[in-house]
Symmetry: C2
Subunit: 270 residues, 2 copies
């Protein structure tokens, strides 16, 4: 998708040109500027309108599939029968092998993920994850993680252009396998989850890299994928740390330059 702005220059993919008034001290100028593109993506599941995600308009197939995986509606590529993206309309059509009413399942699910107080539904979901914490033989040097994080940052073109996106990536101990960018840090991780599912990649020896904060929801997404490492340049939250400890995930924050903090399962970092 190549486009040109009014001056005949290329507009980088994932950005949109807008007219702004730039104010600096007492100066005021009408200018053109680039902002990160946000677009609504509607997922149709088995011909039923299902959910609309607000996202960056790349890797929409991966996002739809990753979202359904994170929500627990599909587990593997064999659960998918058909996948079609209409970029023009911003719609992804997903058909699953199981044609029973998944909307019903989501509504049940909704009450679960956005569940209730301690000891009840929210914590039941965690309990079911805790009953089989993530296991992995992968051990890795801190220096390698820092090298991967610096690669992630160098790859992030959209961030450099607009300052408005998060990035995520899947890596093994040697290199980044693929990455994603999105206005939402949840979406960026879901795009990785979807790409892994469609490419049938095993994850128990892989590393999830993220630019964003490590909240409980990101840790839960990683644990559901059976990823042993979640690494970010940003801060974790208390619940993120607590869950990583319980779910068998090595959680690394503030991975910048030559330093990082390990919040759980530090024995995997050598």
């Amino acid at each position: 998708m190549e486009r040109e702005n009014l001056q005949g220059q290329d507009i980088p993919q994932g950005t949109s040109e807008v007219e702004i008034v730039r104010v600096r001290d007492s100066e005021r100028n009408n200018e053109k500027d680039l902002v990160v593109t946000e677009t609504p993506l509607t997922v149709f599941l088995n011909n039923k309108e299902f959910v609309t995600l607000l996202c960056s308009p790349e890797k929409l197939d991966f996002l739809a599939v990753g979202f359904l995986r994170s929500e627990g509606l599909i587990q593997g590529s064999s659960d998918l029968r058909d996948l079609h993206v209409d970029h023009q309309k911003g719609i992804v059509y997903v058909r699953t092998a199981d044609q029973s009413d998944l909307t019903e399942k989501l509504y049940g699910k909704r009450t679960i993920t956005s569940g209730c107080g301690k000891g009840t539904i929210f914590f039941n979901v965690l309990d079911s994850l805790q009953s089989r914490p993530v296991e992995s033989n992968l051990k890795i040097e801190a220096g390698r993680l820092l090298k991967l994080m610096s690669e992630l940052q160098n790859d992030s073109i959209l961030f450099k252009t607009t300052g408005g996106v998060h990035s995520a990536a899947l890596a093994d101990r040697d290199k980044i396998l693929f990455s994603s960018e999105d206005i939402g840090r949840h979406n960026a991780v879901d795009k990785i989850a979807g790409e892994c599912l469609l490419k049938n990649i095993s994850l128990d020896d892989k590393i999830l890299l993220s630019s964003g904060r490590l909240s409980s929801e990101i840790v839960i997404k990683g644990a559901k994928l059976r990823l042993p490492f979640i690494v970010s340049r940003s801060a974790p939250t208390s619940l993120g740390v607590e869950l990583a400890e319980k779910l068998g995930v090595t959680l690394v924050g503030f991975a910048r330059g030559r330093r990082l903090n390990i919040y759980s399962h530090a024995d995997r970092i050598i």
Copy 2:
């Protein structure tokens, strides 16, 4: 709520102490560190478990009320009959004047906010907002906005301690009236929305300040509150700009130091 850590020092409110392994070059040290507290808050609406929000544990009453307001389930303080927070259990009990089944309304609503493709439900919500764009007589100097933003940043204690929160504030042309901090930028804005509702504050001459990105959802929240100004130190998205233009909101981004960018309705800034 005063607490002490193992060294007998105060732990700032909104933070939790965790044990970490700090790695710097080849040094590796076991230390204690502060991370921002994340907690699940369950909202019971008319004695029915409704939703669990993951949030920072302050201003929980405002958050619950603001969330219900943003979701369109209540409009003003007269819609509320009773509000009770159980801090221990992390539960807010809300009773509304209208005792009909609001869960039903949310499920309808859910299909709406997370709606569908262009021309249909997602855009119907926008259409209903666009039919009465925000109107305001407030005009303000760019320098005043920058002063308010610098106050917001100075007030943000949690961010300085942990690097892991967003802040939001309500201001008039002279000063910040109140502010909020939360791990989620949507929550931070909802806390402001709830406080305004409970305090019966009129908003058509007020300014919403935010530390976070100006995506479509933040602009929609502001427009629903009838706020003429949304100002942030961060970047907007394309859909955020487009909606601000249509909904009558003056959108200001990158408000830092002595500069800012105006993305819509620039005539309100003098």
